[in-house]
Structure formats: structure tokens, C-alpha cells
């Protein structure tokens, strides 16, 4: 039997981020798996915009040479390149972390140690693949 005379243990809190207290504003310690989860959604939203850019590419292609050249000059500008670099990073991150999620769906790799390790692998892959693609792009005249 529990000792009812003692003050009861505080109720467990649902995983919202902010305590509202005066100490640390964050209820949870930042952890690598939190980053992978949040970034999966963030990159998903970025790729939503990326898919709209891909649609704009197809539309420009159908409109003709002038519109296509205009589209290419927008993407080839500095802001355009920054967006494309971000999309490359987002695509490789979302791809790798998506595969990580698919592996989890089979019931494997869910232990804390494995989840942390695969998070590092995902970040490393996204960075390496992005740099590799942009290195190839600079060599093949794609920039």
C-alpha cells in the first residue's frame, strides 16, 4: 500500500517543450533524436516547396525556351543556388531519415543506443551526399 500521508509524486507531464517555470524554460534536455524528429518535419516542409519548384520547372519547360531560360536564371542566381543547396541537404536528410523510419517500422533499431547511432549516420550521410553532389555539379558545369 502507498503511504497516503506523504505528498503524492507530481503527475507525469506530457512531452510539451516549455515548463513555464522560472528555471530552464525547456522541460526536456535536448537530445539528438529530438533533432532528427523535428528536422524530418522541417525538411519535409522544405521539400514541399521544392516539389512546387519542380512543378514550376515542368511548367516553364512546357511554356517554351524563353520561360525556361528565365526559370533557369532565377535558380542559377545566388539566392536560387542557396535555395537549391538547402533543398539538396533537405532531400538527402529526409531520404536517409525516412529510411531510418522504415527500418524502425520493421521493429529494428529502436533501442536508445541504436537510435542515437543511426541519427549520427543520417546527419553524416546528408552532409556528405550534399557536398558530393555539389562537388559533381561544380565539375559538370551544372552551377
Amino acid at each position: 500500500m502507498t503511504d497516503v500521508s506523504k505528498t503524492p509524486r507530481p503527475r507525469p507531464k506530457s512531452p510539451h517543450l516549455v515548463t513555464g517555470g522560472l528555471g530552464s524554460p525547456l522541460l526536456w534536455r535536448w537530445h539528438i533524436t529530438m533533432w532528427t524528429s523535428i528536422l524530418h518535419r522541417a525538411t519535409g516542409v522544405a521539400l514541399y516547396v521544392g516539389a512546387l519548384i519542380a512543378a514550376a520547372w515542368a511548367i516553364a519547360l512546357a511554356q517554351g525556351p524563353d520561360q525556361y531560360a528565365q526559370f533557369k536564371s532565377v535558380l542559377g542566381s545566388w539566392p536560387g543556388k542557396v535555395v537549391m543547396f538547402g533543398l539538396t541537404l533537405s532531400a538527402f536528410y529526409h531520404l536517409a531519415n525516412g529510411v531510418r523510419h522504415l527500418v524502425w517500422d520493421t521493429g529494428h533499431g529502436l533501442e536508445v543506443k541504436s537510435a542515437n547511432a543511426s541519427a549520427v549516420v543520417v546527419f553524416a550521410f546528408a552532409a556528405a551526399a550534399t557536398l558530393a553532389i555539389w562537388a559533381i555539379a561544380s565539375q559538370t558545369g551544372a552551377l
Binding site: A54, A58, G64, L102, D105, A137
Partner: protein, 133 residues
Amino acid sequence: MVSYRTPLGRARGLGSAKHGAGHWVSERVTAIALVPLTVWAVYGVLRLAAGDYGLAVHWIQDPLNATLAVITLAISFWHMHAGMRVIVEDYIHKALTKTTILLINLFVCGLMGALAIVSILKVALGAGVLGGA
């Protein structure tokens, strides 16, 4: 038919509606398909970025490229609609706001996806117009 089961017992006996997993499965199926298609798309963008309009027309008139482009677009727009839907359902709780954003999500994905696919088909099937480029 008279049943003596309690309402709770009846609900338990019914189990789920047996279609709740549909969205979950379609997210995974599209994700699996997009793994190779994304790799192909990155390769395609690399090729196209290095060329002009003529190369792009020539490239998309290859039946394999046209097919893969259409499939990639269709599955991407399907997948991103599902993903954005989950995000909206998680964070937006006011019924009217949520419904409005979900409708915009559906219409944007449907319209832009269809527009992109029709555009590709127009160029891909328009052989002879600029096919020699």
C-alpha cells in the same frame, strides 16, 4: 437480433474499422518508392542544370525519363500531401482553420501535381516540334 452484450463488449468485439491503417500504409509505400526515385531525380537535376532548353526537351522526350519524371511527381505530391496533412492535424486544432488548411493542401498538391505532369507529357509527347534540339 437481440444481443445481450454490453455496449463496451460489443465495441471490443467489433475491433477497429479495419481501414485505419490505410493512411499509414500509403505513407510507407510512397516513401519506399521515393527512395530510388529521389536518387534518380537528383541525377536528373544534375544533368538538366548543366544544359539548356534543348537538352531538357531532348531529355524529357526519352520515354524512360518522361515515365520516371511523371511517376516521381505523382508519388511526391501524394507523399507530401500526406505529410503536410499529418503536420496540420498535429498542430492546428480549430476545426474551421484546420479544415481550410487541409483543403488548401489538397488542392495545391492536386493542382500543381497535375499541372506538372501535364506539362511534362506535353513536351514528352510533342515529338517533332523541338525534338531535334
